[in-house]
């Protein structure tokens, strides 16, 4: 019996904004009222939905497609105090040709480094189309004066960064100072100008409630984020299917209201192909196929790539090769 394809979408989500959101950030109180007026999130229901999408069975051609897509969405990341130029060059080479034994393997989306490594990274990926992202704004704690954060951003951009990953001031957010967070994001966005896309990191593990994550998502989008990103990868709870699902709902709803499409980047803790495929299913069935490319969706990951490569080799050869058949950084 033929399996019919998924029921095709019959709703046009795009088009002109149906609501003017422009003035919700006019004052602290209008911003607060707007963010607190967003629909609530039911924890049990959200996690159940994320879990049920995790049971989709992705095999054969769909799996091959998903693996290549996931590789092309990786922000290959090294954010260690011990990073050296040599390590960053190796990372760049790997980003361009993730699997030297198979040149059909797509490049990753970007390499993600600290600002002082941007120039080195830029050189390493020159001419390949791989972007260089940099975590500026006093990553990962974000506890510095705005001037310092902006200087950090300008440094990274001057060195050639294509993308800036900024952390928000969680202390201000949790204290309810939404306007302060908003202003910081807009200032950083301004510093990015037209030369870099801005990813705003919420550190969802520290925001602790799903209601907060939804509010932070909207706050970031209103303030001009090009991407919203779950986490730094430096705390105990990073990207989860549930918080990513929630952020995908936020970008979907934001586009429905404003016509503006925003990207999503789960980061930290996604280590296996199986996990990555589950996230792609979340994207496909929540925000939709429009988000299924590396302009709109990224994985912030370092160890994920090797598992994707091993699974790719297994699909190609029918055998599982093992960790010595892919490069360490």
């Amino acid at each position: 019996m033929p399996t019919s394809p998924k029921l095709s979408a019959s709703l046009d989500q795009g088009g002109a904004p149906s609501h003017a959101l422009g003035d919700v950030a006019a004052s602290d109180s209008t911003l607060r009222r707007f963010l607190h007026g967003l629909p609530g999130v039911d924890t049990v229901g959200l996690e159940a939905r994320a879990a049920s999408l995790g049971t989709r069975s992705i095999k054969t051609t769909a799996k091959a497609y998903a693996i290549d897509l996931a590789i092309s969405m990786v922000d290959l990341t090294t954010l260690e105090g011990a990073d050296t130029p040599g390590k960053v060059r190796a990372l760049g080479a790997k980003a361009v040709h993730p699997d030297p034994t198979d040149r059909t393997t797509p490049s990753t989306a970007a390499v993600c480094v600290y600002p002082d490594m941007v120039a080195t990274a830029k050189e390493a990926v020159a001419g390949s189309g791989v972007k260089v992202a940099s975590v500026a704004t006093a990553f990962p704690a974000g506890r510095a004066a705005l001037d310092v954060k902006l200087a950090d951003v300008r440094d990274a951009i001057a060195a050639g960064a294509d993308e800036i990953d900024m952390v928000i001031d969680r202390g201000a957010f949790l204290a309810g100072k939404y306007m302060k967070v908003y202003d910081e994001i807009t200032a950083v966005k301004e510093a990015c100008g037209t030369s870099a896309r801005l990813k705003v990191i919420f550190e969802t593990g520290e925001l602790s409630t799903y209601d907060n994550i939804r509010r932070a998502s909207w706050l970031g989008m209103l303030a001009g984020a090009d991407f919203i990103k779950t986490s730094t990868g430096k705390v105990a709870v990073n990207a989860t299917p549930a918080n990513t699902l929630l952020m995908l709902e936020a970008v979907r709803d934001f586009r429905a209201q404003t016509g503006i499409q925003i990207g999503v980047k789960p980061a930290g803790g996604i280590r296996t192909t199986k996990d990555a495929v589950k996230f792609l299913v979340l994207v496909n069935e929540t925000a939709g196929a429009d988000w299924l490319d590396n302009h709109w969706f990224r994985f912030g990951a370092s160890s994920l790539l090797n598992d994707l490569l091993m699974q790719r080799q297994k699909l190609a050869t029918g055998r599982y090769s093992g960790p010595d058949y892919v490069t360490v950084d």
């Binding site: 019996m1 399996t3 019919s4 998924k6 029921l7 629909p39 609530g40 992705i58 497609y65 299924l292």
Partner: protein
Amino acid sequence: MASAFEYAPAPESRSVVDIAPSYGLFIDGEFTEAADGKVFKTVSPSTEEVLSEIAQAGEADVDRAVKAARKAFEKWSALPGSERAKYLFRIARIIQERSRELAVLETLDNGKPIKETRDADLPLVAAHFFYYAGWADKLDHAGFGANPRPLGVAGQVIPWNFPLLMLAWKIAPALATGNTVVLKPAETTPLSALFFADICRQAGLPKGVVNIIPGYGDAGAALVEHPDVNKVAFTGSTAVGKAIARQVAGTEKKVTLELGGKGANIVFDDAPIDQAVEGIVTGIFFNQGQVCCAGSRLLVQESVQDELLDSLKRRLSTLRLGDPLDKNTDIGAINSAEQLSRITSLVDQGEAEGAERWSPACELPSSGYWFAPTLFTNVTQAHTIARDEIFGPVLSVLSFRTPDEAVAKANNSQYGLSAGIWTEKGSRILAVASKLRAGVIWANTFNKFDPTSPFGGYKESGFGREGGRHGLEAYLDV
């Protein structure tokens, strides 16, 4: 790379199930032919493939089965509760061990997605046997007085929507309390009950304690009328329930009826919208809407109606309809041609009465019985589709402005089985729930089941409770 993320088919293997070309009736521990030699065929609703030929019980077979159950009752009811518990625990464990086989079988015979049989039906079936096994030696402490006695022979008639789960709901408490059983599964879904008969043998259950007699309505009627049946338990349509109530009126038989429903799913304007959408989908599209407690009437507060309907339509467009054995299928086949034509005629009536019909673009397979997920807007209380149970993937959307109006509309039904409330406000959940006349009320969720939780209806949805401690009472002389 291809151009889109199309999920490749991921069919569950059907080789884990060995379906024999024919099956007999299970009476007194043996498979036997029907006295008059009659047989009927059971087909797979998704392909119309004939799965097997089943002996069809007639009046003589019912009598034989009741006699076997009567004979077995003496010994079974005399066993200590802890002994009966051993058998029930053993059955529960065998069900777990054979759960994949049973899930595939149920999907083949019923048409529902493997995702549901695997993740919902089978775990619940095992859980019911475990739960009632736990009660078997504690009946003295169940709150029904010291030493409550079993009733005798239970005649049980179950429907085709959850064949094995309804069997578990009926058989587990009956055996735990010391009764013996004659069970008639529905004529379109007899297979899992016959596999259960095999499990009874595998568990070494004494002969005659469980008897399974597949057949049509006449066999059900003969079972209900049989003078040596002490307890009648029925789950199915309200029309048949009424006929049973008439049949047993004036006899000493105890009876419980779980009948139809037209559940109201009430969404307030402060609801968690995304989760409410999921709850609405679960409420009406779980098991193709062939659920007596389905949330088939959506009552939505006017202020969020447009937003909610947009979200709901977008969500329905992602449902995947097709081969029920595919692990990615969300919507399977309708159980029978007869049920499909009933759904179709009610939906046609909805359109004729002026309600607005909507379905996502949806390709239906060419063979088998299929109905696209459907929702109706512009529905009023006066429409047939707001009053009659459709028992299919069809949602009627109504609106309200105040909580009182929501309660009034929800209660304005001949049924009263289930309801759902969606709001972020805890006090509103309690206030509204206390006014709703329905046996089960879910808050910020829908269609969740648990063996510890009693289930049953108000008004034409029937009487008596199954599940939980309450479920014991229906099988005890208290």
